[in-house]
């Protein structure tokens, strides 16, 4: 596992030299029309992504050392973790669709192993299966998309594909939209976009560092990364793919934010928040069609990787300190007991909420500005709303879990985690603060800089967000402020209660409930609760129940029925054979 860290350091050094070359390793060639080169592609996009994956990955490796020090199966865990990181790096470096797909599948398999690490718990095994199956569903579309692109253009290499599309933007013809959407299917699975998002919250059953790894820098980011990587396929003129992608991203962001408001499990809140932020990124890809430059999505991905990993590891530290207690209503007052965890967590929360000058502000603002710039006013409103919600639920979490009196024995006796766990926290706090100034946008800009409409204007906008797009920046800030006010007003007040609201007597619970509704009426309206419930119901019953279980059940039933032919009776077998022959002869001869 330290090997991964070492590897990341080496790659880091390589980054510093800044060679934007494309390294080719022609590993396998075949005749008969099949020509597949396996190669690596190093360009600004993959270089920075490498940094993100290895940086966050090594922090998590170190942290896991502390988190799982007592587990008997540590070897298996780290094997899985390393495999996962390896597969992820493969995705980042792939220079063609086939290689991308291979590593894509590998990520799916290793995530299956990691989520199901505590396989003795049925929920974990179930979650692992769900994650795998949902991902496979997306991958299926992805594979079809790849085949379609390959059939139309005759190559799988990104470089060649891009060149061919640049030569002749209409090369894909009518299939452009279909191919784009099919490829997006893959991203929908991996990046957990509606309606394939169901696996992600359940994936919290895995060990917390795994959640951090999956949610922050790697698996879910792979989808967005892939979209940016093949952006030229999506953005061909005449394709409606991007428009749809933008809306799916927006819907995911909103739905997930709404659901997050309802959760009590600390990891689930973070999971829904991840979903919501991923929605942002996909939204950003979707609205970048006009400017042909999805770098804002990558920008947000990068900053998000930092602070979301920090949030998860912080949550892990809390859980670890409280002996695997995950209910925030059984926490409280942790700011005094776990100072390092609290301050880093708070920092990350602020970054997530988009408070200047932390990293999240810049990247989120860039997305909001982009929606406005491209004329998607509906999406602009939606994004602003989600920003408000984000602040609301994050501070609800912070207020309930970290401030106020301790709400359980465990919370009262919690002790700070060992340094092997807190050090990664501190390390991850640095990018959360600095990533905004650091010039990530310029690196990504170089990737798309050669394209026609990617003028440097957006870069200046980042340096001076207020000057460039005052409306967007102002709206974002105002939304954050409103969210914070909401959380402060209610949850600070709720903390005056000696007992947590959810577990009080019925009357008290009712009163709190009313308070809830009142808040909703003022903020969003009465429909929110039912919407949240509806969305949850769709999750649970329609998608899981009908789509997954129904299909599975049908096939299982068919299998059992067919199996009845295998009676074991030789005579029946002979009859089947002869009847088969008779049928075959009849079909062929009786013409």
């Amino acid at each position: 596992m330290l090997l991964a860290f070492l590897g990341s350091l080496i790659l880091w050094a390589r980054d510093a030299t800044g060679e934007p070359a494309v390294t080719w390793l022609a590993l396998g060639t075949g005749t008969g029309g099949l020509q597949i080169e396996l190669g690596l592609k190093l360009d600004p996009l993959s270089r920075l992504m490498l940094l993100v994956v290895t940086g966050v990955g090594s922090a998590i490796h170190i942290y896991s050392w502390g988190y799982l020090h007592a587990d008997r199966n540590r070897g298996r865990y780290f094997a899985g973790l390393s495999l996962f990181t390896f597969a992820m790096l493969g995705i980042v470096l792939a220079n063609n669709f086939l290689m991308l797909f291979i590593f894509w599948e590998l990520v799916g398999v290793s995530s299956y192993l990691l989520i199901g690490f505590w396989f003795a718990r049925p929920a974990a095994a179930e979650a692992a299966k769900k994650a795998f199956l949902t991902n496979r569903l997306g991958d299926f579309g992805f594979l079809l998309g790849i085949i379609l692109v390959w059939a139309a253009l005759g190559t799988l290499s990104f470089t060649e594909l891009e060149a061919r599309l640049a030569d002749d933007p209409a090369a894909l013809g009518a299939a452009a939209s279909v191919a784009g959407l099919l490829i997006f299917c893959g991203a929908m699975g991996k990046s957990a976009q509606f309606p394939l998002h169901v696996w992600l919250p359940d994936a919290m059953e895995g060990p917390t560092p795994v959640s951090a790894l999956i949610h922050a820098a790697t698996m879910v980011a792979a989808g967005v990364y892939m979209l940016c990587r093949v952006f030229f396929v999506l953005a061909v003129p005449g394709s409606v793919a991007l428009e749809l992608i933008a809306w799916i991203g927006g819907v995911t962001a909103l739905l997930a934010a709404l659901l997050a408001v309802q959760q009590n499990d600390i990891k689930r809140i973070l999971a829904y928040s991840t979903l919501s932020q991923l929605g942002y990124m996909v939204l950003a890809v979707g609205v970048s069609g006009a400017s042909r430059d999805p770098s804002v999505a990558m920008y947000h991905l990068t900053t998000h990787a930092g602070f979301k990993a920090l949030l998860f590891l912080g949550a892990g530290s809390v859980i670890h300190a409280l002996h695997h207690e995950q209910d925030i209503w059984k926490m409280g007052g942790l700011s005094r007991r776990l100072p390092i965890t609290f301050w880093t967590f708070l920092l990350a929360t602020l970054a997530l909420c988009g408070v200047p000058p932390l990293s999240g502000f810049y990247s989120k603002d860039a997305i909001i500005a982009r929606t406005l710039e491209s004329g998607h006013h509906g999406l602009f409103a939606l994004a602003t709303l989600v920003a408000a919600l984000t602040t609301f639920y994050m501070f609800r979490l912070v207020f309930v879990a970290f401030t106020g009196p301790a709400k359980s024995q465990a919370a009262d006796h919690a002790r700070e985690s060992p340094p092997v766990m807190t050090l990664p926290l501190l390390a991850l706090a640095v990018p959360s603060v600095l990533a905004g100034f650091w010039g990530i946008h310029r690196v990504y800009g170089a990737q798309y800089g050669a394209e026609p409409a990617a003028a440097g204007s957006w870069a200046q906008q980042l340096v001076e967000p207020f000057a460039h797009a005052p409306l967007a920046a102002g709206a974002g800030l105002a939304a954050a402020l409103m969210g914070w006010l909401g959380a402060w007003a209610w949850y600070r007040a709720a903390l005056q209660d000696p007992l947590p609201a959810r577990f009080a007597t019925v009357a008290r619970w009712l009163r709190d409930r009313l308070y809830f509704d009142e808040l909703y009426e003022r903020l969003i309206g009465w429909t929110q609760e039912s919407l949240a419930r509806l969305a949850d119901g769709v999750d649970r019953w329609v998608i899981m129940g009908v789509a997954v279980k129904g299909t599975h059940g049908t096939f299982e039933l068919l299998g059992r029925l067919l199996r009845l032919a295998q009676t074991g009776n030789l005579q029946t077998y002979a009859f089947v054979l002869v009847a088969g022959v008779a049928l075959l002869l009849f079909l062929v001869m009786a013409r």
Binding site: L34, F555, Y573, V588
Partner: protein, 496 residues
């Protein structure tokens, strides 16, 4: 003399088989395993020896009875490799045969000789005799554990249904001969159009297809497969799954493209329908399966379907993909059966549940079986993925002219998706379910006993794993061979 050189590999195999039978008379019982390993070593040498053949163009032998071309060589190497691995497996398995190990080895060798002759067949008489040599050897191999009812039952079922299929085959040969006046493939290819288009000739060919379809276990001639796979001893099943299927396949290719190239277009709809049914049947029946050998039986039916997709594509790429898929299938299935032989010491229960916690008892076995299943499921970067990929790609390339192929493609993809469910079920059992308490007498021991893996088995397992990975990661080298083979079979087949 030239003729004898051309059938040198077969002769070597036959002589080895006789030598095994004779040596058994003098060798003490303790030396029997050595005989098996020695036979496997000889096969290895013969395998290497086949690379000495340099064939600028196909050579005929025995007055056009046999043809030695790249296709024949490819399959001969394939059979030799498979039989070598099966022999190692059989040696490991021989403790459970109670007696008669040498006879078992010898029968494997004779069946191998039959398959190798089949690979070169250029005449219906050779086709029939070689196929029957294989089949009769397999009747005995399947029922070899005569103290086990299930083994005997498998043998009887295979025998009756096999004889039934032979009956169809023979009648088909009679009709084909009667209409065209020849049994030689080369001369048959020059038969006049009037003969080819007569219904009785077509009927004869269909009956021949029944006989060969039985061998490759294609629906609706598949019905024996699951029972026989389950009941027969593990080495027999492995050889049946790999060797017998490949023998049927090579004969199908020879008849289709060698004897009646003018009729392939008319055969296409039949092939497509059979392929689709076979895939669906195999995949669906495997879902509720609890017995691992039986599961592999159904999976082998599904594989037959995928192979037929390649045949139905009717282009060089499809045939090349068929050969590639078979090569990958060889390593995959043999790896699975090597594990089965070791992991199930109790022959009458091959339930998947008994594999629980295998990764703690024998990590190598668990890893090999997991890799094999992943490869069968068609997950990259293993051989199985690439085989399926090539098959589908070839079918896609040919689909422009025949829209029916799109349907077939759809069925094949659905099959791949469904198959994931049960393959991963097995993997989950191995890795994620705790080992059941071994025996009531020692409940205190926390860790179950480790399974010992003998060195030859270890070598064979690593060979299979290496094969799976090599084929998956570097398909180029083997694809050169398959392309050569396909060109020698049908130089006229269009290259897309």
């Amino acid at each position: 003399m030239d003729d004898l050189i051309l059938i040198g590999p077969e002769l070597a195999v036959l002589i080895t088989g006789l030598a095994v039978l004779l040596l058994d008379l003098w060798a003490p019982p303790s030396q029997r395993k050595t005989i098996g390993y020695a036979a496997a070593a000889v096969l290895g040498v013969v395998f290497l020896g086949t690379f000495a053949f340099l064939l600028p163009e196909p050579r005929m032998a025995f007055g056009g009875m046999l043809v030695l071309d790249e296709l024949a060589l490819f399959f001969k190497r394939f059979f030799l490799l498979a039989a070598g691995l099966v022999l190692i497996l059989a040696v490991e398995f021989s403790d459970r045969l109670k007696a008669g190990e040498s006879e078992y080895f010898a029968l494997i060798l004779f069946a191998l000789a039959g398959m190798m002759f089949a690979a070169s067949a250029n005449d219906f008489s050779i086709l029939f005799v070689a196929l029957e040599l294989v089949t009769i050897a397999f009747y005995v191999l399947a029922s070899f554990q005569r103290h086990r009812t299930r083994s005997l039952e498998a043998g009887v079922k295979y025998l009756i249904l096999g004889a039934l299929a032979s009956g169809f085959l023979v009648y088909g040969i009679a009709l084909v001969f009667g209409l065209s006046g020849t049994m030689n493939f080369t001369r048959l290819a020059q038969a006049p159009e009037a003969v080819l288009s007569s219904p009785l000739f077509e009927l004869g060919l269909l009956l021949v297809f029944v006989g060969l379809g039985f061998k490759i276990a294609a629906v609706p001639f598949h019905i024996w497969a699951a029972d026989v796979y389950e009941g027969a001893p593990a080495p027999t099943t492995a050889f049946l799954a790999v060797g017998s299927k490949a023998a049927g396949m090579v004969l199908l290719l020879r008849v289709l493209h060698g004897a009646v190239p003018a009729l392939v277009d008319r055969a296409q709809p039949v092939l497509m329908v059979v392929a689709a049914l076979t895939i669906l049947y195999g995949v669906l029946c495997a879902i509720p399966q609890q017995n691992l050998k039986r599961l592999l039986g159904y999976s082998s039916i599904a594989s037959a379907g995928y192979l037929l997709v390649g045949v139905a594509a009717l282009n060089a790429a499809g045939l090349s993909a068929v050969l590639y898929y078979l090569a990958g299938y060889l390593f995959t299935v043999l790896a699975a059966f090597l594990v089965i032989a070791l992991a199930f010491p109790n022959v009458d229960s091959e339930e998947i549940g008994a594999l629980a916690g295998l990764h703690e008892r024998a990590p190598l076995l668990a890893a090999a079986l997991a890799l094999a299943l992943v490869s069968l499921a068609g997950v990259p970067p293993l051989a199985g993925f690439f085989g399926k990929f090539l098959l589908l790609k070839a079918a896609l390339a040919a689909a422009g002219g025949t829209p029916g192929l799109y349907w077939l493609l759809g069925v094949a993809i659905v099959g791949v998706v469904i198959s994931l469910a049960y393959y991963f079920g097995v993997i989950r059992t191995m890795y994620w379910e705790p080992h059941p308490p071994t025996s009531p007498s020692s409940p205190s021991s926390p860790s179950p006993p480790c399974l010992a893996v003998p060195t030859p088995m270890r070598v064979a397992l690593w060979l299979c794993i290496a094969g799976m990975l090599w084929l998956g990661v570097m398909p180029g080298s083997i694809l050169n061979l398959t392309d050569l083979a396909v060109q020698s079979l049908a130089p006229a087949v269009p290259v897309p």
